[in-house]
């Protein structure tokens, strides 16, 4: 086989090895998928809190006006997401992420894994 052909195939093999080393294998992919689900859950819960707030209800209340999001628990541990009100007019919903989060979504703190929602009813 010609040297250029060997080099082309070797390049492909090295690229696959480097790819798996850099991006991670199946376990890493599963972690990323769970984190994507957590992020989606946080935003769904944030919409729910904003809906309650817009209707003048308590952020922890349940109301037929604002249907509860389907997933309110961690996809791996099944523990509920942590909801708190660190200060007046602010609600935070937190999840424990497995991988480093680089998203710059408004109100999301990548270090703590918490999404903050400013309530309008307290303005």
């Amino acid at each position: 086989m010609r040297a250029a052909g060997i080099a082309l195939v070797a390049l492909a093999v090295v690229a696959v090895a480097l790819g798996l080393w850099t991006i991670g294998g199946p376990e890493q992919a599963r972690s990323e998928n769970r984190d994507a689900q957590r992020m989606s859950d946080l935003h769904a819960m944030a919409r729910h809190v904003r809906c309650l707030d817009a209707n003048g209800l308590d952020p922890r209340a349940e109301s037929p006006l604002c249907p509860l999001p389907e997933a309110r628990r961690d996809p791996q541990t099944d523990a509920p997401y942590h909801i708190s009100t660190p200060e007046d007019g602010i609600v935070t919903i937190c999840a424990v992420f497995e991988t480093a989060q680089s998203t710059r979504a408004p109100g999301f703190d990548a270090d703590t894994g918490c999404l903050s929602i400013a309530l309008r009813s307290t303005d």
């Binding site: 250029a4 390049l11 992919a29 998203t103």
Partner: protein
């Protein structure tokens, strides 16, 4: 009768009548035929001194051969495309320039494709070479495969050269841009080096 058929018939009749290939060449070029056409027509027959021209094997196209070269072309295309895609993604990852919205599904698809396509490409190439050597006969499909592959690789190199000049003019000659271009040039160059012999061997 097509002109090429008439030419082949003339050469056959001429050899049968005892004329030498050189005499036939002179007669044909004198009649206005091109040197290449005459050479091709003469190469179809051999004067073995039997007063009967012996037909030489001609390049043939078989469906099986077309299938094998088609598969080889598809796997080569898949290999190169995904190698470059994966390379771009890794360069982005290493330089920390991957946008947040772009996940890791693109390099994962590229890895998955390469894992399947690379051994298949290797097997097809070795199989085709084995068959080609055993048959020891010219192949039109092989020559066309080499021509199309080298054309695409050459166009890629041309595109890379234009991109470099544009990057230079627009002030976008970043480390990522240079690394990406180097990868494309490397892959296209290897493809040309690898398959240029197919054009000659045909």
């Amino acid at each position: 009768m097509k002109p090429a058929d008439a030419l082949a018939q003339f050469v056959q009749d001429g050899l049968r009548a005892g004329h030498s290939p050189e005499e036939l060449r002179r007669a044909l070029t004198g009649a206005g035929w091109q040197e290449g056409e005459v050479a091709q027509a003469l190469s179809g027959w051999q004067d073995a001194g039997l007063r009967l021209p012996v037909p030489c094997p001609r390049p043939q196209v078989s469906a099986r051969e077309a299938l094998l070269y088609g598969l080889l072309f598809a796997t080569l295309l898949g290999l190169c495309w995904n190698l470059v895609t994966l390379g771009f993604a890794l360069i982005e990852e290493w330089l920390g320039t991957r946008p947040d919205w772009r996940g890791t599904y693109i390099p994962r698809w590229a890895i998955a494709t390469l894992i399947v396509v690379t051994p298949l490409f290797l097997w097809l190439y070795l199989h085709i070479e084995r068959v080609h050597r055993a048959r020891a006969r010219a192949s039109v499909v092989r020559r066309w495969f080499g021509a199309v592959t080298c054309l695409l690789a050459a166009l890629t190199l041309l595109g890379a050269a234009i991109s470099v000049v544009y990057g230079l003019l627009s002030g976008d000659l970043t480390a990522q841009f240079i690394a990406n271009t180097a990868l494309v040039v490397t892959v296209a160059g290897l493809v040309i080096l690898f398959f240029r012999d197919f054009l000659q061997e045909g």
